[in-house]
Amino acid sequence: MRELTYIAAISEAISHEMERDPDVLVLGEDVGGDFGGAFKVTRGLAARFGDRRVLNTPLVEQSFIGMANGMALMGMRPIVEVQFADFISSGFDSIVQSAATIHYRFGGKVPWVIRAPSDGGIRSGPFHSQNPEAWFVHTPGLKVVAPSNPADAKGLLCSAVRDSNPVIYFESKPLYRSLRGPVPDGEHLVPIGKARVVRPGTHLTMVAYGAQVPQALSAAEELATGGIEAEVVDLRSLKPLDFETVAESVTRTSRALVVHSANRLAGVGAEVSARISEECFEWLDAPVTRLGGLDVPVPFSPPLEDAYRPDARKIAAAARRLAAY
């Protein structure tokens, strides 16, 4: 299969969906024209689909997401780009109060996708490195996905566009151009709400998503040289969460390590850990371990950011402790 970068897979998914469905449009800051967004994800779309379907908005997250709510209520399928995931907080009400509640409250459908370029490790500081997914996983009525590789990046985005609900799509900036992989041509859907075992193993289960999946995989390779076989589960969807796949793995390995780049404290990992403890209690041979960002804003300077953030080395170390428990 041909290989694409993670970011090219995202672009391909968007143009595939725009081609397929005239109700799909793109909007956000700087997404239009020849420019095509801060990360050039939407470059070329305006030329191909016209300025109307690739709309540059003013700097107004609350209102352009609110506008997407209205478009979606009328049956359009906006793909909204927030320039960095960090700026999703500026449109918070339009997401958590409006889009998230409309279907439950009166049956309206809000089929949009917000693309949120997230995560750090690339020296961007506290306002361009955030991983705010926990806010949205906690909020009823939303769906949240976070692809870890190019094929899923395409397949989850296409599924998100076709979903009848508001879906927040956290794409990992550190993977944009650093990760290449096979991506099916043409139609390719990855179902929302299904995790995937990306590496089989027997001694412990690593549960991760987004940019921490490659880190977990590389930790697993290193561990394997020392005889520890880690199974790696890629959550892919954070909400709905495919807990069955996690449980199936943990009940086999009896040890679980949950990893994400987001702040550990009250992060999505807390939910996963709590559920493992609740539902796999009898199988556990060791306490579930969580790795995540420290309880501080993402710092800029390399030694600080490296101290802040999980990576393959820290994962391997935690896994060794866990395996030895």
């Binding site: 003013p58 209205g70 009400d93 409006s98 279907h103 009166f106 009823p140």
Partner: protein, 353 residues
């Protein structure tokens, strides 16, 4: 910190029962008739009367302890909420606010369903999920349920209008906000975009001089709501919100303009909230004489007097309408009170579409 000059300006702006210094608003589009047909004028009255009767009944029920939770009276706003919906075409959409029960009724939501929502019954449009006049959306009627967070209805309406532009549909989206709503950030963001994109939308600012307990002069230094709106590059005008015919003409002209590609309009409707912010609020902070002055300009009574004095309708005809409204509402309450509460087993249903 409140500016004493501010309250004087406010008095000057709102004190006089009429504002003779302002010319009668003239419809700007030829499509909006300067002279309204008699049956339309009567219909405006009919819907206002139904709205007022519903409102009075609701207030009484809540005082009697027959309510559930809190609720919002729209007393005094009937001259706005009714024409907001009457001026729309069947394919247009409306996102009313928390006092706009008239808009729901005109749009075809039955009083029984309204009371169903108020009383938390499964027969309400939110099926017991949302409270009072929130969440009463019904897309088959072109109604978007209210989101409490002010002014969420505005960007939603902008988006609906934009979808019509995208698809080339001759439809219009209308919404409202209060004087309080005009001070919020998304109001500014959305009006700027509406002008920029020439969105087919209409926004009615229901300036009732208070946001909850906070009077206008503690909300803004100048009351130039229309001027501020016009500075975005859209059409803006001020109307007497207690004159239902003027409101109808103005909204209709704006709707027609939007439909024909003329872009968005903001209409400031000046009025007064006649009861408290919500049912529990006695509104002691509103000067009694201000209320008395506005009571004399009651929009329902005003229309009634006008129909009689201009010979459009006789006392008997109007009494018949009043009786019809009474009967409709009584039946609706009975139906709603007899309706079941939702089954708790359904609480997690329909979280996703």
């Amino acid at each position: 910190m409140s500016d004493p000059l501010g309250s004087q300006i406010r008095e000057a702006l709102f004190a006089a029962p009429a504002r003779p210094d302002e010319p009668e608003p003239q419809p700007e589009s030829g499509e909006a008739p300067a002279d309204l047909p008699d049956d339309l004028r009567i219909d405006l009255y009919r819907w206002m009367r139904l709205t007022r009767t519903l409102d009075n009944t609701m207030v009484d029920m809540w005082k009697q302890g027959r309510g559930l939770g809190g609720t919002f009276s729209g007393r005094g706003h009937e001259g706005i909420s009714v024409p907001m919906a009457m001026a729309l075409g069947p394919d247009d959409v409306i996102a009313p606010m928390h006092r706009d029960v008239g808009s729901y009724l005109v749009r075809g939501m039955t009083p029984a369903r309204v009371f169903g929502n108020l009383l938390g019954r499964v027969t309400g449009p939110s099926e017991g999920r949302d409270a009072n006049l929130h969440g009463m959306g019904d897309l088959s009627l072109g109604i978007i349920g209210y989101v409490s967070h002010i002014p969420q209805q505005i960007p939603i309406t902008l988006g609906m209008a934009m979808s019509f532009r995208y698809r080339g549909e001759p439809r219009v989206a209308l919404t409202a906000c209060g004087d309080g709503g005009t001070t919020t950030g998304p109001y500014h963001e959305s009006l700027n975009m509406a002008a920029l994109y020439s969105a087919p939308m209409v926004l009615v600012v229901q300036n009732n001089q208070y946001a909850y307990s906070t009077p206008l002069d503690q909300q803004m230094a100048t009351f130039a709501i229309t001027e501020r709106a016009a500075a975005y590059g859209l059409t803006a005008r001020t109307e007497d919100g207690n004159d239902v015919e003027a409101m109808f003409r103005s909204i209709k002209a704006a709707v027609d303009r939007a439909r024909s590609g003329g872009g968005p309009t903001v209409i400031e409707a000046r009025t007064m909230r006649m009861l408290g912010h919500a049912i529990h609020d006695g509104a002691e902070y509103v000067p009694r004489e201000l209320l008395e002055r506005w009571e004399a300009r009651d929009p329902v009574d005003h229309q009634r007097r006008r129909l009689l004095s201009e010979g459009v309708s006789g006392e008997a005809g109007l009494a018949e309408i009043d009786a019809w409204a009474r009967a409709e509402i009584n039946a609706a309450v009975a139906e709603a009170e007899a309706a079941p509460f939702p089954d708790p087993g359904t609480v997690s249903d329909r979280i996703y579409a």
